[in-house]
């Protein structure tokens, strides 16, 4: 579903991604973990071309994301993206946040889009919040609206860039539950996260990055109990024993 081959990217002299290759088959969930500055966010942002790449290729559902000839706007409708800081549209109600793209881009009727949005919001526990504005919601609620907004386009792939990092601790669970439910439904997902327990529980593969490189890829039971590289061992020792 997602195929990343030999991707390189530099900001000036700084090599942020070095020879990255990664396959995410359909319905798999992959966690990108690693120390800050490892290039996790940059990598996930290249998958929907929010960041460009210098060399290599990225395809999603056989569409070449890196290719300038590709209609990137169309390709992005198939890739949901959830940001660390939610980035909800503050001047639109919850319902309008979720329906604006289906109506304006997919040409759905208002009624059709609102029906689907209400289903999504209700399933995410936001059935009472249709008319609220984002600034009246808690961080956890805002992030769930952002997830509904992404799902409203019926994407085949969902990308989460540190979806719980900006949340108060007591709100982390409600957002992780939403992502967990998507995993159960077989959504193909890439998640940049620092929630190790969550990564262990729902992911098919853990991708450990450091210094712009993929250091280790392994299923969670292998990675968390028996990492092969020293870099991963050091990282796990630091994050798991505090």
């Amino acid at each position: 579903m997602i195929s990343i081959k030999n991707v390189n990217k530099s900001f000036g002299d700084h090599h942020v991604l070095t020879d990255i290759s990664l396959e995410v088959p359909k319905s798999n969930v992959v966690a990108l973990i690693g120390p800050s500055g490892a290039g996790k966010s940059t990598l996930i942002r290249t998958i929907n071309a929010l960041e460009t790449i210098d060399t290599g290729s990225i395809t999603v559902n056989d569409i070449a994301i890196h290719d300038k000839k590709t209609n990137i706007n169309k390709a992005r409708t198939n890739i949901g993206f959830v940001f660390q800081n939610f980035n909800l549209y503050p001047f639109l109600s919850v319902l309008d946040n979720v329906t604006i793209a289906p109506i304006k881009i997919k040409g759905q009727s208002k009624a059709e889009a609102e029906k689907r949005a209400k289903e999504l919001l209700t399933s995410l526990g936001l059935g009472e919040k249709f008319d609220a504005f984002p600034n009246r919601l808690s961080g956890g609620q805002q992030q769930r609206v952002a997830i509904a907004r992404a799902l409203a386009m019926d994407p085949e792939v969902m990308l989460f860039d540190e979806p719980t990092s900006a949340l108060d601790p007591e709100m982390v669970k409600e957002v992780l539950d939403a992502i967990r439910a998507l995993a159960k439904q077989g959504m193909t997902m890439v998640v940049v996260t620092h929630e190790m327990g969550f990564a262990k529980e729902i992911c098919d593969d853990i991708v450990f990055m450091a210094d712009g490189k993929i250091v280790e890829v392994a299923p969670p039971d292998v990675f968390f109990t028996n990492p092969t590289t020293d870099r991963a061992k050091d990282f796990l020792a630091a994050v798991l024993n505090h």
Partner: protein, 221 residues
């Protein structure tokens, strides 16, 4: 000073002349204002365009217009450029005011758009919107709230600045006042009346824009 006596009758006696001048002031101001809007929008977006040539030209325009006194610009257009293109006083006034004001509007528009957090554009683009759609549907509705108040100030400045067209022979309110003063010697009364007329004009505009602002905020939340 001690034997000075007000004679306000000079104001109503010359009101028809003053109102003729006021009418020209309004015409020049409104036309300049309308022309300055597209200049401001085009140059403002030019300042944040991807193309470096467009960015440079827009930046140069803004810097040059900001760096020249309006009085000099009007003289240059009317007497200087006038040697090549015969604008006449009326259009020279409008072209001068509109190009001058357009540069300030461009800065207002640019800063309004850039003040919208970067994440808004990213969220819109990530959902599949084109750059233009994202601008129209997501960025501009948020930018307009920041743009409107300084735009109102700029329009008021433009009305006041229009008094400078009297130096290139525009028989606006200011020039009419000067001629009335020259024949009646009633400077204090006439200039007071003129100040009040300018104030009524700018204050009416101020109220109008405040009304639009309120209505927009109500519609949005």
């Amino acid at each position: 000073m001690s034997n000075f006596e007000f004679d306000w009758s000079v104001v109503p006696d010359n009101m028809d002349i003053l109102l003729e001048g006021l009418w020209l002031t309004i015409k020049i101001s409104v036309l300049s204002l309308i022309l300055s809007l597209p200049i401001g929008i085009i140059v403002g977006f030019g300042r944040i365009a991807k193309n470096p040539v467009i960015r440079f030209i827009s930046g140069a325009y803004v810097e040059i217009m900001r760096g020249i006194p309006l009085l000099v610009l009007l003289m240059w257009i009317y007497f200087g450029l006038g040697k090549l293109i015969d604008f006449g006083t009326y259009w020279a006034s409008i072209v001068g005011l509109a190009t001058f004001s357009g540069a300030f509007l461009a800065e207002i528009f640019r800063s309004g758009v850039q003040a919208v957090p970067k994440g808004q554009m990213e969220a819109a683009r990530a959902s599949g919107m084109s750059n233009f759609q994202a601008m129209r549907l997501i960025i501009l509705p948020q930018a307009i709230r920041r743009i409107l108040p300084p735009t109102a100030s700029q329009f008021i400045m433009l009305i006041k600045d229009s008094s400078l067209v009297s130096v290139i022979g525009g028989v606006d309110l200011t020039l009419r006042a000067r001629s009335v003063v020259a024949t009646s010697y009633r400077a204090l009364e006439i200039w007071t009346a003129v100040a009040i007329l300018y104030f009524i004009l700018t204050f009416a505009l101020s109220l109008l824009i405040r009304y639009f602002e309120k209505r927009m905020l109500k519609n949005e939340q």
